[in-house]
């Protein structure tokens, strides 16, 4: 958190706070109106990422940090998320009972 950010009021943070609560509210409304929907997962993930991004940038103060730290955190996080999603296709294989590819 930069000194400049501290000197300002809480207004920006209250907006972020309201946005994070609103995102959770939207998630609940979407999930309740369409339980078990086919496209629920991508919608939930997009909203969760939006809320998390707000939290990381403003509540954790990453937006006010040096660019090298922002890039470092972003690159590592995206790398982890990209590599860890390698397993999804295999979960569909298990569900369908399909054999391994030859």
């Amino acid at each position: 958190m930069s000194t400049a950010a501290e000197q300002g009021g809480l207004g920006k943070y209250i907006v972020v706070y309201i946005c994070m609560l609103a995102i959770t509210g939207i998630e609940v409304v979407i999930a309740s109106s369409n339980p078990g929907g086919a496209h629920l997962l991508p919608i939930m993930l997009i909203l969760a990422f939006a809320g998390a991004l707000l939290g990381v940038l403003f509540f954790m103060g990453l937006a006010a940090e040096k660019r090298s730290l922002i890039i470092g955190v972003a690159v590592f996080t995206l790398f982890v998320l990209a590599t860890i999603n390698y397993g999804w296709t295999d979960s569909f294989r298990v569900l369908m009972g399909a054999p391994y590819a030859k």
Binding site: M1, T3, E6, L10, Y13, I14, Y17, M20, L21, I23, T24, G25, E27, V28, A31, S32, P35, G36, L40, L41, M44, L45, L47, A48, G51, A52, G55, V56, F59, M60, E65, K66, S68, L69, G72, V73, F76, T77, V80, L81, I84, N85, G87, W88, D90, S91, F92, V94, L95
Partner: protein, 208 residues
Amino acid sequence: MSHSDVALGGHHAPAMEPSPFAIPAIKLAMWLFIISDIMTFAACLVAYGFLRNATPNWPRPYHSSTIISVLVMTVILVTSSLIMLMAVRAARAGDRAAAFRWTMVTYAAGLLFVILHIREWFGMIGQGVTLTKNPWGTGLFGGAYFSVTGMELLHVIAALIALLVIGFGYKRGRYGAAHIENCHLFWQFINIVWMFVVPLVYLMDIAS
């Protein structure tokens, strides 16, 4: 100039190389810990998703009472994040009394979150959910549910202990604003993880 002066770069040169991220070492350490913890939670959530996806007839046990409870827990956690931010601002401004007060308010909110979380767990256990079985069929559900939410709960409890130790230490002058800020970073991280736990664990499995 002595040999040690040469090693340190002379009288007027900095003794060490500046941090590549221009942040104190203690804060960099916390960021590195958070980055490694992202990996832990990502692995837990992806494992949960894998099991859910690969298991036919995955139960959808959450009714409106559970969702309302989770919503209340979310409001408490996000509010506590804002309060913790105020503690950091007060600590940076040198206002020890206000920083301690806001830290303790955050602690109280976190404690409330833990109580509600444990109440939620007892509700599930009361319905017959254990690590290996549940009344709805697939035995993997209980283990997956308790693992992901338990990991979150464990982090919240660890953060509460840290808040208590650092808060009182800061009040006595043992710790500085940097320590409060580190607690703040960890607390915010827990809040962010919860933003993923709610939709992926609870909202995806609302009873139809």
